[in-house]
């Protein structure tokens, strides 16, 4: 009888994320993954039914991890600026600590597996928190009444641009770049200035 092994499951998860990021979905296979993990392909099938099942479980795991990190120390009734700073700190911490998972998540968001993200249980709480926070800030006149899409692009667009520069190690024109808290705070202050009435 074959049994499950938590360490092996973690290894499989890590290697699968790496392979999807480095090689994409099309060339990704159970056999290649088993080789990279130094386990038999049979062992891999103990954990997952097939490639599709494996990818779905990985998307779901990353999504859960992300949604849990993002709402850490966050309360939708927080003052707008304070809540936004918690969001920036949480989102940047997740991206900096889990670069491979973030890249994998980005690939999956633009693939047929995106539906799996929407099925994640943690998503509903995340959505509820974010909507409440947004509406609360407008109601309290801490935020100009704008549509959610405009809000998101201004509120998080600059952060994700900086995180992209950091991941690449360079910004526009190939200038070397490392994200520091000071740079993040400068950008944050300008973003807040743009959104506050």
């Amino acid at each position: 009888m074959r049994t499950r092994d938590t360490d092996k499951e973690k290894l499989v998860y890590t290697k699968a994320v790496e392979q999807i990021v480095n090689e994409g979905f099309n060339t990704f296979s159970m056999n290649k993954l088993a080789k990279a993990c130094n386990i038999s392909v049979a062992t891999l099938y103990i954990y997952y039914k097939d490639k599709d099942d494996l990818i779905k479980k990985i998307v779901s795991k990353i999504a859960k991890k992300f949604f849990n990190v993002v709402i850490n120390d966050f309360n939708p009734k927080m003052p707008f600026e304070e809540g936004m700073w918690v969001q920036w700190k949480n989102r940047s911490a997740f991206a900096l600590e889990n670069p491979m998972e973030v890249s994998c998540f980005e690939i999956m968001k633009h693939s047929p597996y995106a539906d799996e993200i929407l099925k994640t249980g943690e998503l509903s709480m995340f959505k509820q928190y974010m909507t409440e926070f947004f509406e609360h800030a407008i109601k309290n006149k801490e935020l100009n009444p704008i549509c959610l899409d405009v809000f998101w692009s201004i509120a998080y667009g600059p952060l994700y641009t900086l995180l992209g520069f950091h991941r690449e190690g360079k910004s526009i024109g190939g200038r070397p770049f490392t994200l520091t808290e000071d740079i993040m705070k400068q950008t944050f202050d300008l973003m807040i200035k743009g959104l506050k009435p």
Partner: protein, 74 residues
């Protein structure tokens, strides 16, 4: 002693295409001791994965080979 915990068995096969009416699919569906099964037809080993509570691998090998396919335990 009757085994109650489900176990997973995996087999290499040559089943690269599968439909609900295939003989092998019918046999696997109807088997009283098979809780769940799937075949990864995209994989080069066309891995058959069986979740069962009380069956020996040889019985699965026999069931698949009798349906005209290759099957060996991985």
């Amino acid at each position: 002693m009757k085994q109650t915990n489900p176990q997973i068995l995996v087999f290499k096969t040559d089943i690269s295409e599968l439909c609900g009416n295939c003989e092998v699919a019918k046999k696997l569906n109807m088997h009283p001791l098979i809780n769940e099964w799937s075949i990864d037809t995209e994989d080069k080993d066309n891995v058959l994965r069986v979740v069962t509570t009380n069956i020996v691998p040889q019985q699965i090998v026999q069931l698949v080979t009798e349906s005209g396919h290759y099957c060996s335990e991985l």
